[in-house]
C-alpha cells in the first residue's frame, strides 16, 4: 500500500527528496550544530566536557528504555506505550526493595551495597519482566487479529492504568531515594566532578547492550525472534512457537525496563509516578532516531538525545535553554519520522514511505 501511496503523492516532501535536497538540508543542519558546539567548546572547554559526560550518562539510561521499545517494535510492530510505565514501576520496586526492605542507605558499607544492589537488580528485572509478559497476555494478545490501531490504543490505556498504580504506590509528589551509590568524584575536569553514580550507569548499560546483541544475533532464541519478526506465519511453519517467542521478547524488554528503573532511581535519586510517560516518550524518540527495531541504533539515538538535552541546558553560548528542551526533542522526532523514518542506522523499508 505504501508503494501505491508514494507513487501517488507529489507533496513538497517528495519533491525535496526527488531533488536530492534532503541530504543537503541535513548536512547544513549538522554543520551548523557542529559549529555551535565547537564555539561552545572553545569558550568553556571544561564545562563542555562535563556536560557531555552527563549527557552521555543520561543517554545511556534512556538507551536502556529505548532498547525495550525497539525490541517489542521489532517483533510486533507495536509501540508499547506502557513500556515507560513498566520502567517507572521498576523504579518503584527497586526503591521499595533496596531502601525499605533491605534498608540500604548512604551509610551502608561497600560489600552490603554491592550485594544488596545485585539482589535488587534481580528483583526489579524479574518483576518488570513478568509484568510485561502479563500485559502482553492480557491486553495485546487477544487483539492480534484486530485492526492495526487497536493494540496501540490498548497500550495507551495500559499506560494510564500503570501510571495510576504508580500514583497510588508513590503518591503525587516526587519521592526522594537515599544516596546508595558513592557520591564522590571519579575524576575532576576544570572543577566539574564526574561521579561514581554516572560511571556505574555506563558500566551497567554497555555490557547489557552487548549481551542483548549476542542474544539476538547468536542464540537459537534470538534466531526465533528474528524469524518471528520477519514473518510470523512462516516462522510458525518452521516449528517456531510464535507465542512463546513473543512472550520471551516481552520478558527481555521488561527486564531491561527493570534495570533502567533501578539505575534511574540510583542515578537521579528522585522518582515520581509520571516519570515513565516522560522518559518513555524520550526513549521512544531515541529508538526512532536510531532506527526502530535496530538495537545499537536505539542506544546511539538515546545517547544523541541525552547529549542534545544536556548541551541545550548546560551550554551558555546561544543555547535555547531548558524551556525549549521538550520541543527540541519532539521536533527531532517529527523531522526524523518525516524525512528519514528508517532512522540513522535503520534500513529503508516500504512502510516508511
Amino acid at each position: 500500500m505504501a508503494t501505491v501511496a508514494s507513487t501517488q503523492q507529489s507533496s513538497w516532501i517528495g519533491r525535496i527528496r526527488a531533488a536530492g535536497l534532503g541530504p543537503a538540508i541535513a548536512t547544513t543542519l549538522v554543520v551548523l550544530l557542529l559549529l555551535w558546539l565547537s564555539v561552545n567548546l572553545a569558550k568553556t572547554p571544561s564545562d563542555f566536557a562535563s556536560v557531555a559526560l552527563e549527557g552521555l550518562t543520561l543517554g545511556l539510561v534512556y538507551g536502556l528504555i529505548a532498547l525495550g521499545y525497539s525490541l517489542v517494535y521489532g517483533i510486533l510492530e507495536l509501540i508499547n506505550f506502557a513500556h515507560g510505565d513498566v520502567f517507572m514501576l521498576g523504579s518503584w520496586v527497586s526503591f521499595s526493595f533496596a531502601a525499605n526492605r533491605l534498608g540500604l542507605g548512604a551509610n551502608t558499607s561497600g560489600i552490603a551495597v554491592i550485594g544488596g544492589l545485585l539482589l535488587t537488580l534481580l528483583v526489579a528485572m524479574a518483576f518488570c519482566g513478568i509484568l510485561n509478559v502479563t500485559i502482553e497476555r492480557l491486553a495485546y494478545r487477544p487483539l492480534r487479529n484486530a485492526p492495526r490501531l487497536a493494540p496501540l490504543i490498548t497500550a495507551i490505556g495500559m499506560s494510564f492504568i500503570l501510571q495510576n498504580v504508580g500514583l497510588y504506590l508513590l503518591g503525587p509528589a516526587p519521592v526522594s531515594v537515599p544516596n546508595i551509590l558513592p557520591t564522590g568524584a571519579v575524576f575532576t575536569i576544570g572543577g566539574n566532578e564526574y561521579r561514581w553514580s554516572s560511571l556505574i550507569v555506563a558500566m551497567t548499560t554497555i555490557p547489557i547492550l552487548f549481551l542483548l546483541i549476542w542474544l539476538v544475533q547468536r542464540t537459537r532464541q534470538g534466531k526465533a525472534m528474528r524469524a518471528t519478526a520477519q514473518d510470523q506465519e512462516a516462522a510458525a511453519m518452521m516449528g517456531i512457537n510464535v507465542n512463546r517467542t513473543i512472550s520471551f521478547t516481552f520478558l527481555i524488554a521488561g527486564a531491561l525496563a527493570g534495570v533502567a528503573g533501578l539505575l534511574y532511581a540510583l542515578y537521579s535519586t528522585n522518582i515520581r509516578y509520571d516519570q515513565g510517560f516522560q522518559l518513555g516518550l524520550i526513549a521512544f524518540t531515541a529508538a526512532v532516531l536510531g532506527g526502530i527495531g535496530n538495537l545499537p541504533g536505539a542506544v546511539l539515538g538515546a545517547i544523541l538525545i541525552g547529549l542534545i538535552q544536556q548541551f541545550n541546558e548546560g551550554l551558555s553560548w546561544h543555547a535555547p535553554s531548558s524551556q525549549w528542551t521538550q520541543s527540541i526533542v519532539f521536533a527531532i522526532l517529527i523531522l526524523i519520522l518525516v524525512f528519514r523514518p528508517e532512522g540513522l542506522l535503520g534500513e529503508r523499508t516500504p512502510e516508511g514511505g
Binding site: M1, A2, T3, V4, A5, S6, Q8, S11, W12, I13, L76, E77, L78, I79, R137, L138, A139, R141, P142, L143, R144, N145, A146, P147, R148, L149, A150, L152, I153, T154, I156, G157, M158, F160, I161, Q163, N164, V165, L167, Y168, Q230, Q232, A236, N243, F277, F284, Q323, W324, Q326, S327, F330, A331, L333, I334, L337, V338, P341, E351, G352, G353
Partner: protein, 459 residues
Amino acid sequence: MAEQLPEYRQPWYHRWGGMLGEPRRRWRGMDDKHRDQANWALKALLVIVVAIISWPLALLVVALFAANYVDQYVPEKHAWARRALIPTLIAIVAITYPFYNGSLHDMRLFGAYPDVNTAVIMGVYVIMAVGLNIVVGYAGLLDLGYVAFYAMGAYTCAWFASVQFAHRNVHFGATGVGSSTPGFHINIWLLLLIAGLITALIGILIGLPTLRLRGDYLAIVTLGFGEILPQVANNGDNLGGFNLTNGPNGITPIDAPGLFGTSFQTGSGTFFTGPRLYFWLVLALVAITVFCSLRLRDSRLGRAWIAIREDETAAAAMGVPLMRTKTWAYATGAFFGGVAGAYFASFKSSTFPNDFSFNISAFILSMVILGGMGNVWGVMFGAAFLAYLNQEGLANIGHSLNQTFGTNFEVPLYQYGIYGAIIVLVMLIRPEGLIPSARRQAEFQEGVHDTPLYDARHE
C-alpha cells in the same frame, strides 16, 4: 493468519490470558433467536440499573429504546420520520434541560444532575469528540495530538477578542465591550468561523508532510505536535521580544458572544440568563457539527474515508486519492476542534497553556473509543458522559463512596486510571464501542483487516 480458537483450549494460562476476549466470542457464537433474547435481557438490565441511579434517567433510556423499536415499523415512504424520531426526542430533552434540571432529585452514587454550566462544557467536548471521530473513526487515522487544534482555536479566539494586543484598538461587532477598550475585539460568531478555518489550515499544514506515514508513526508525530504546541504557548510571552500568548499567565478575560446586543456573560433578565444562552448556543453548535458529520459520512468524501480505513491498498487501487482524502479528514477534524476551542475559550473567558496537555488528547480519544469509533451518536454519548465524570461525576462518586464506606479514597485522583481501564476493557470486550456503527462492528467481528497488526512486512 491462523485461527486463534484452539490455542485457548491448551494450557491454563492461555485460557486465562484470553479470558477477557471470551464473552465476545461466545456472543458471536449465538444463533439469532438467543441473541435477540439476550439483547432484550441486557436492555432490561440496563434500564433497571439506570432506574436505581435515577428514575427520570431510566425513563429517558426507555423512551430511546422505544423510539428505536418504533423505528423499524415506520413504513419506508416515511423514512424521514424514522431519521428524525430519536434526534427530536433528544433535542426536546436537551433544550428544555435548564428549566427542569434544578428540580430533578439527586442521582444515587452520582449526586446532583449536571449544572447548566457543566452541560455547556459537556457540549464543547461533544463537538471536539465528534471532530476527532472524523479523523479516528471515519478515516482510521489515530491522532494523539488533537489538543493542538483545540489550543489553536482557543488562542485564535483569545487574540482577537481580548486586550492582549493592547497597542491596537480594533473593534468589529463585539458585544458588551466598551469602544475605548484596547485590543482586538472581533464578533465572536465570526471568530468561531475564523478559528475553525485557521485551525483547519494548521491541520493541513501538519497533515501534508505527516499523513503519508503509516498509522502508528502518524500517531506519534501528532503526539509530538501536541507536546510542542503547549510549550510554544507557554514560552510565547517572549518570542524574540514579542508577547504572543502572555505565557503561563494566559490570556484573560476574553469577550463573550452576544446576540441582539445582549452579552452572554451578563445575560438578560431571568429567562435569558448567561448560562442558558451559552447552553443553547452550544446545543446549536453541536447540532450543526453532528449534521455536518453525518452528511460528510454519507458523502463521496466520507465513503472514501471509510474505504481508506478498511483497506488502504484497495481504496488506492479504486482510484481514491489517499493524500488528499486523508488531508481532508484532518482538516475537517481540525475545523471542529478549532470551533470548539474558540467557543470554550470564550465561555471560560480565558486560555492558559496548561489547558492543553497530552492528557486532554487522550481524554478526547477515550470519549471516541468508549462511544464507538465511527458512530456519531455513540461518540456523543461517550463525550458527554466522560466530560460529566471529569467535571462533577468523579468528585461526587468519590464523595458518595467515601460516605458509604467511611473511607478516605480520592477517586478523582485516579481518573486516568479509570479512563485507561475503560479504553482497555472496551478494546478487549467491545472494540466497536458502546453504540457501534454497523460497519465498524463488522470490521471488528469479521475481521476486515487489511493490515494484520503483528504481520508488518506483508507488503
